[in-house]
């Protein structure tokens, strides 16, 4: 999950092979499509709050908000929320650094929250984010948008908006690159040698 | 008692000889000596032979502190450490401030029979610093007390100290001062300096020692009394002693092994095994101690052997009692601190661990040269041995050695008290 989606932004090193799944144009197209879907499914995007899961989910949420504003004329509120403090696997790794949390003005009560993340795998991050959301308020409904769904779910969680479904092996990694962080957009599948 | 033949030993590290002992005295020194039937022999090839060590400063804890040490266990530690005579400090419970207590300590020492235990009498009643104890009665008792001290506490009142010195001068005994101005060391926990400042431990300023030594030297001069300064720890005190000796004042001084080797850098773990009074000081101080010992400004090495059971040591720093074991590590620490760096040869070791302490306290049968007709109080040491210190393996009941786990040079192979082997190869030989 969290580890899988972190790209190093660099090229393939020896013993590792990366295969491009989406290029920059693909990513742009997907964001536009999901923006349209959100407008459609939320009746114009009123009262929608996009909440990104740091760090790339935050970038995607901002881009989606811009696209929705462009297509519908209404800019949804954007926030971001670090679910680390709600994770169920904290004790398995050294204490990790926390990311920013910012809930948009007006809070979350009675609003339609769309959680945004880059990759959906086990569903545990989303589960933690749902718990965190509940502590911040009581949204009318919560939906989930992801750029890539790579399978291997461990919880009964399903995304409402999926950019691309990618069947993967567990040992493979999905690398997501976004211009704001990585200098360019793209998604790659990384396979370790012998995997 | 059967004869004892020590073969191929090197007296003071010089050429190997055989030493034949009979009736508790050295009977013959030469080569190719043979012993009578039934004589015990000790092959000392490569080993150094020195006069038996004399420790002017030990705490044997009996009576009253038997959970930490007894006269018997302390005697065992002394024999294993190469000592043939020790001076047991009076801060017991009850305090050794009457002939009853000093005679008890003396008698127990004789019963154990491993080392001559000389009780040190208190200078003041109950070590309280206000009323002179019966020095004369203790000196004339069967214990023949030769040294008096309130050790653990300073005789802080200058008038009491002056009276003690005056009174002692007529008895031919020495007053041993624990030099610490208690007003300057109120609450003190560590050497006053950068380490203590960082650790938040109240400082024990070196001046608290130096000023008392200076004062007492003046008092000793005026009273023509014999003053002995316990456990000198500060480089500044050396200068005071040097001047006093140059002026002909009858002052002698001791340094502990730990003040020759250890510094307050050891305190950063807050392990109270390093808590001692006076405190461990700086590397500059240990260097000054070593040089002053070599020069003779410091006369003797005395261990200040201070056993404390775990409940008094395995605590927070402030609650821990000060003191550390010393008897079984004294020689090795002295070898590490002074012999290996070339500051002392084996004659020097004999001087500071045997000859001078016996002279200061007027012991006629210890600290004597290795010569025919002299009492056979001897220590055989292996100068090349290395060993690892383990507190749990010490003869003392307590295990509070600050050298735990350290590898130290030089080892006592055998100790001989009036011709009888009291310890050999790390084992005590009970009579």
């Amino acid at each position: 999950m969290a580890d899988d989606r972190r790209g190093d932004g660099g090229g393939a090193s020896s013993g590792v092979s990366d295969r491009e799944l989406l290029n920059a144009a693909d990513v742009a197209r997907i964001i536009a499509r999901i923006a349209h879907q959100i407008i459609e499914k939320t009746a114009g995007g009123e009262e929608v709050v996009l909440i990104g899961i740091p760090t790339r989910g935050t970038v995607l949420a901002r881009r989606l908000a811009a696209a929705i504003a462009e297509f519908s004329g209404t800019a949804p509120a954007v926030g971001w929320l670090d679910p680390t403090l709600y994770r169920d696997d904290l004790r398995r790794k050294p204490a990790r650094a926390l990311e920013d949390t910012e809930v948009p003005e007006g809070g979350l009560d009675d609003r339609l929250v769309v959680l945004v993340d880059d990759v959906l795998m086990s569903g545990r991050t989303v589960r933690a984010a749902l718990d965190a959301l509940a502590d911040h308020g009581r949204p009318r409904a919560v939906q989930l948008a992801v750029l890539v769904d790579r399978g291997h779910r461990e919880l009964p969680i399903r995304a409402d908006y999926v950019g691309k479904n990618v069947p993967t092996a567990r040992r493979e990694q999905i690398l997501v690159f976004l211009d704001e962080i990585d200098g360019a957009d793209g998604v790659a599948l990384r396979r370790e040698a012998g995997a | 008692m059967p004869d004892l033949l020590i073969r191929n030993a090197r007296p003071y590290g010089e050429d190997a000889v055989d030493v034949l002992i009979g009736n508790g005295v050295i009977a013959e020194i030469g080569s190719g000596l043979t012993a009578s039937d039934g004589a015990e022999t000790l092959d000392a090839a490569g080993l150094v032979l020195l006069p038996g060590f004399v420790d002017l400063h030990v705490h044997l804890r009996e009576p009253g502190g038997e959970e930490s040490e007894t006269i018997e266990t302390g005697s065992r530690a002394a024999a294993l450490g190469g000592f043939t005579a020790v001076f047991a400090m009076p801060n017991t419970n009850p305090v050794a401030d009457t002939e009853v207590v000093v005679e008890h300590v003396h008698r127990r020492g004789a019963e154990v029979g491993l080392v001559d235990v000389h009780p040190v009498g208190a200078v003041t009643v109950g070590l309280e610093g206000t009323k002179l104890a019966e020095l004369g009665s203790m000196a004339r008792s069967r214990a023949q007390v030769r040294m008096f001290s309130d050790d653990g506490r300073c005789v802080n009142d200058p008038l009491i100290m002056r009276r003690a010195l005056e009174y002692a001068s007529a008895l031919g005994v020495v007053i041993a001062q624990h030099a610490e101005d208690h007003r300057l060391t109120a609450g003190a926990q560590a050497h006053e300096g950068v380490v203590a400042s960082r650790l938040g431990l109240a400082g024990w300023p070196a001046a608290a020692e130096e000023t008392i030594v200076a004062r007492d030297c003046a008092l000793a001069r005026d009273t023509d009394a014999a003053l002995h300064v316990c456990h000198v720890s500060s480089a500044h005190t050396i200068e005071v002693l040097r001047a006093a000796k140059a002026a002909g004042i009858r002052v002698s001084a001791e340094v502990t092994p730990h003040h020759l080797l250890l510094t307050d850098a050891a305190l950063t773990s807050y392990d109270p095994v390093h808590k001692v009074n006076p405190p461990l000081r700086t590397a500059a101080d240990t260097k000054a101690m070593r040089e002053a010992l070599a020069e003779g400004v410091l006369d003797v090495v005395a261990t200040d052997h201070a056993p404390h059971a775990a409940q008094y040591k395995d605590t927070e720093w402030a609650a821990a009692r000060p003191g550390m074991l010393g008897l079984q590590t004294a020689l090795s620490v002295l070898v590490a601190a002074c012999v290996e760096p070339g500051l002392l040869d084996w004659h020097g070791v004999a001087r500071v661990l045997s000859q001078r302490p016996a002279e200061i306290t007027g012991l006629s049968d210890h600290g004597r040269p290795i010569a025919v007709g002299e009492p056979a109080n001897l220590t055989v040491i292996d100068p090349d041995a290395q060993w690892t210190v383990r507190g749990a393996a010490m003869a003392s009941i307590a295990a509070n050695t600050p050298y735990e786990g350290m590898r130290l040079p030089g080892r006592v192979v055998a100790t001989v008290l009036r011709g009888r082997v009291t310890a050999r190869d790390g084992k005590v030989h009970q009579s």
């Binding site: 403090l85 910012e102 809930v103 | 938040g200 431990l201 400082g203 605590t315 927070e316």
Partner: protein, 314 residues
Amino acid sequence: MKHLLSVTDLDAAAATALLDTADRLKQALLGREVRKLPTLRGRTVITMFYEDSTRTRVSFEVAGKWMSADTVNVSAKGSSVGKGESLRDTALTLAAMGADCVIVRHPASGAAHRLAAWADRDRAATGTDTCIVNAGDGTHEHPTQALLDAATLRDRLGSVAGRRIGIVGDVLHSRVARSNVFLLATLGADVVLVAPPTLLPVGVQQWPCRISHEIDAELSTLDAVMTLRVQAERMRGAFFPSAREYAIGYGLSDERAAALPQHAVVLHPGPMVRGMEIAPSVADSARSAILAQVRNGVHVRMAVLYHLLAGAPE
């Protein structure tokens, strides 16, 4: 980080990470109705205070509770501690009961170090991996106070590095001063201690700071001034002649506060002696960050608990 005993357990990166975590925790809780995070659910945190300190104890307790730890308070009064049980036995007993963290305040310098040594040595016997947090040991250290002071300075000044911070008062007896000098120096601040020589320890010359006996010469260059509590009973130890003379020489009066740069912040670790070390009007002024320090205290202590308890044991 296994224990937090001294600020020297933290290098600049580790200290900054703690401060960042404290910031994020503050954000995460901002404006929420439910001020509770599930992060330390099922973990047991025991505060063991051998000295009275409502402020610090409550701050740790709130920090633990906001992260869903089970917090238990042990005070020296009314426990086995009062019956002569040794610190070691008390600590091992608490560890054997399953304390994941023992937060200790003790009048002896080094008490927290000893607890940590016992906890590590006797881990097999107690069956618990207990971490120790020093909440003030004698005149040695109070690391979380220094961290919350650094957090407050960061809030107010934007950064600690390169800032000049004056610490005024009884440095000799102050664990807050020791922790602050070394932490602020680690974070790149320029620290100056201002006190009469009697209230500075011998050896202070080798600390990473400058020493001054003249407060008025320092004020105009300070980005922050921290006044330390001066206990009136120190007069009996001849540390200074009188409260009046101290106030005249070193008290942070209105006039002195006015000599500070416009942006300068005033800190005090509390409890304050108003009038002696700090004028009431200064303590209550806009430049005073004294209540911000208290608020930051909870977040900093949450961050410490998070770093010690949330991740996998080292």
